[in-house]
Amino acid sequence: MAVEVNLATQPQKGHVLAAWGLIGWRWIWRSPAAAIVPLLQPFFFLYFLHLISDPSYFPLQVAGAMIFSTQNIGSWCLSDSAVFRIELRLQDIFVASPHDKVRYLFGVAFSNIIPALPALVALGIILAAVTSVSWIAWLVIVACILTIWVLYSAIGIAVSSRLRSQREVWPVGNLIFTLLGILSPLYYPLSRLPPVWRELAQLLPATYAALLVQGTLGLEPATATSLAIDAGLLVVSTAVGLALAWWLYQWRER
């Protein structure tokens, strides 16, 4: 028979935002480069793209940079959760606590969106300056960003849970997130891609997020039906991605 008396006095659920918000905030407060570099990086890349491509693509590329910056949070989550688990052994103290794996995943993701927020806001301001953004478009952009944030953070943390050494973090993270960044047409229209690549791109949630955002902003031709289909496919591909991440995510070692 289980002992009930101590159970009643112990907290059953953890506070995610309070704990991980402080962890994420303190990181950028104490390491200013961690706040400044994520802010600058998208603009370095946009400058490069602006030089080599058709100027008419610029608004599309700004929108793409927002999605790419969000996607990149996944690689930070991968790196962080690997450090916490492998080097600091801190994941153990969270596993052996009421702070369950969903809270932990959300916490790490939340602590890593904090340094990305300035860049997202700045890009949003630039987007509004270079193209007209309706309130519906803002809703779509925010929804896509939140979706990509949750999914790619989950992918990063799930992959990280299978790494055995710190030295695997860079190559594995680089492999996954650079490939994901290249395959999705974030910085150019889908139509510019070769056919085989186009098929591959259509497996990725970020592709549908990009299509939705580009279509809603009027940067690429889209109908209400095509946007609805893109939204539906974003939901489906995200669900598949999350299921895959959940299956991969090892909270307790075997």
Binding site: W27, S31, A33, A34, I36, V37, P38, L40, Q41, F44, F45, Y47, F48, L49, L51, I52, S53, D54, Y57, S79, D80, V83, E87, Q166, R167, E168, W170, P171, V172, N174, L175, T178, L179, G181, I182, Y187, Y188, R192, L193
Partner: protein, 248 residues
Amino acid sequence: MAFGLRWNGTGVFLATEIRVQFHEWLAIVTGTLTPGALLIFVAVLAPNLIAVTLIGSLVYSMFLIGQRVLNEAAYIRIDHKLNELYHASPLSPEAYFVGIAGGMLVAYMPPSLFVLAILEILHPLSFVAWLVLAACLLAVWAVSSTIGYVVSTLFKDMKTIWPYSALLTNLFGIVPPVFYPIRFVPIEWRSLVLILPTSGAAVLVNSAAGLETISGTEAILAAAALAVESVAMFVFGIYWARRMARER
């Protein structure tokens, strides 16, 4: 210490480092991804710039080797504290630095050879262009390895290093004309980008390969800056390695 003695053990340590790196073949393969990604963007958005971008990939890959030196040296020092094992030994600090830098160069050469092969197919280089390419890549390696090693000694944990590493790769690789021709740079900024080792190297090789035209003055400026930077930085790297061998 006599000059010969200073470099005693360099070969063995370099071989050790190469062996360690080859165990991590995935890192070597994925090291090509970032320059590869930029190649792809150019192929999609500006295919006429492919040859310039291929040369840029080579230069950038060489710069990234320096970032691998940063990572490796920091990892050895912060996580393993193995640097203490080597510093408290007959292996000199400069041999340690050169061993890590040289080991990375050898280990990460194969992907660059692959890019070289593609370049040679798409835009064969003359003998002079090959010489210029080799000299420039070596110079970029010397500069970036030193930057990487010095930065690796400045921090106490790996997480703090990451933003600086990302900043360096952007400032030296993405922003300046490494992956695109110098003609895209406004005239008032051209001297500055010619002085930067990565863009200077890329411009020199592009010019030697006949992919872009620069004036004699610009060529001399880029070549002189690269030569001075590579020698000065490498010497500084040796000085810094000796200084850092004993914490203050």
